[in-house]
Assembly symmetry: C2
Homo-oligomer: 305 residues x 2
């Protein structure tokens, strides 16, 4: 089975020609969704991937990521959890390519973690469906890390944390992060995890609040107790540790977590989760993406037959 994919995010366009689960050709450009105006998407796709369309007249075409957001080609409404490959395939939105040929936009997912509370993902649903995890907890790190509970091969529920964006905000714009210097001392990451333990753990303990622990980083620097080379890794450890605190509270403490990340980001989670006695498996995001798309393509083909 061959299919054509555009992994089309905020900042990048990545096209793949896939045979089974192997990428046999690929293109990449900086024509991410944020760089495009309404109406430009079709032309970008045809210029990047048009030769594959000609060579593979029967190959399904899938678009995944922010291309389905309000700022993308067409808004693909979120499908609701629980959702497996068939549910995602059924909620795909077609867009016209040429001569009646269509591409299908993979929708994101939404869930309601509490009454009146909402969460969303767009792209990670495809990764996690290709993670190989049928029942268990998957973590997809990044700007907005996702923790996902899989049950019976479907996304049961999930929770997003703004960890990566918060780190960037603190480093680039805050009084807290301003004193940070390079070279970074990676020992700061463990100090940050130590601090996060003051805002987590079993019931009955004090939880001092993340906003307090963040100020504590500044206080330690200005009072001369922390070398400025430790500060950036410390903030990373504190935020990652507090994300894990929250995820373990929401999903319970699993024996094992599957991490969808490449090194060195995966290594940070392996290390942080080991402190909780949690084992980890790592799956490369690109492999998971292609595997997830293959499942969605198959589910879509089955539904048509």
């Amino acid at each position: 089975m061959r299919f054509i994919v555009a992994d089309w995010g905020t900042t990048r366009f990545r096209g793949y020609l896939v045979e089974n689960e192997t990428i046999i050709d690929e293109v990449s450009s900086e024509e991410g969704v944020s760089a495009l105006q309404s109406g430009q998407h079709r032309d970008v796709f045809m210029r990047q991937c048009g030769r594959w369309l000609e060579a593979e007249p029967d190959a399904p075409v899938l678009l995944v990521g922010m291309v389905g957001s309000r700022e993308g080609w067409v808004m693909a409404p979120y499908a609701s959890c629980p959702a497996g490959p068939a549910d995602v395939a059924a909620a795909m939105i077609p867009v016209e390519l040429e001569n009646g040929r269509k591409a299908h936009i993979v929708p994101g997912l939404t869930c309601e973690p509490a009454p009146g509370a909402y969460d969303v993902m767009r792209g990670e649903e495809t990764l996690v469906l290709g993670s190989g995890v049928e029942d268990g907890i998957v973590c997809s790190p990044g700007t907005h890390p996702k923790w996902i509970e899989m049950r019976g091969g479907r996304v049961q529920r999930f929770a997003t944390y703004m960890t990566g964006e918060m780190y960037a905000l603190l480093r680039e714009h805050s009084m807290i992060g301003r004193p940070a210097t390079e070279p970074e001392d990676p020992k700061g990451f463990d100090l940050g995890l130590d601090a996060a333990a003051r805002n987590g753990g079993d019931t009955g303990e004090r939880r001092v609040g993340l906003l307090h622990l963040l100020f504590g980083a500044r206080a330690a620097v200005v009072s001369g107790h922390m070398a400025t080379g430790l500060l950036a890794p410390y903030l990373s450890g504190l935020l990652t540790g507090d994300e894990i605190n929250g995820a373990l509270s929401q999903f319970g403490k699993p024996a094992s977590v599957t991490i969808l990340a490449d090194a060195p980001r995966a290594d940070l989670y392996i290390h942080a989760l080991a402190r909780h006695g949690i084992a980890t498996q790592v799956r490369a995001p690109r492999e998971a993406l292609i595997a997830g798309l293959a499942r969605i393509v198959r589910a879509h083909a089955q539904a048509k037959n």
Copy 2:
């Protein structure tokens, strides 16, 4: 008793001539510490307050705030908690004005909330010593709000939260805050306090994590469940609520809290604390500042006699 004061912060210089606890003359400028180079502070002070020095040749002169930081006139090392007026007075650092006359820089305070953890304040020690609270919990809102435990008229310990700075970061620089629109709908503040309850409360409950609740604000907007006019007050309520969660965990739940703030900021804390069944008293920061300085001046005079 008359004394001369400069409340000298990062962005503003405020000079007061005080008789007992009444301001009888004042000056103000934008010559905050961040606008000045090393060596300029004396000239600024003499230009702004020199006429009071001549008119009041015996009046003590105190400088309070960031003027005592590393970026200020002279670095005044932090005094350690617990600390009352006599401890603060004894740790003041003199600087030369003219003809042998000196001003004294009020030091900040430091405490160690946990092994290897540090907190600092510079300026709020004077406010809280003038708060009228001998035993109890005082909250000083702002860019970096302080929660302070007073015991026997001394600052026993305190905890700083980066609430105000975080709100500004989220509003000005984040994907989370970007969709916010005006006019703001103040009902969002209560929705944010509701969300904060998912990260606090009594032991045994789930605590989902502040980084998750912050992303939830974006998820609610992009999924069409939250009007964008609610977003900014929501973020304010969520951050304030999580600050209060942490403070109540650290200091226990008091019957009453004294808030050192003017309206409308004080009103937000009154409202948020009432949801926890906590009564509030409000004291204006400027009154507290002058009252605190008067106590430090008297303690300094007594120590000299």
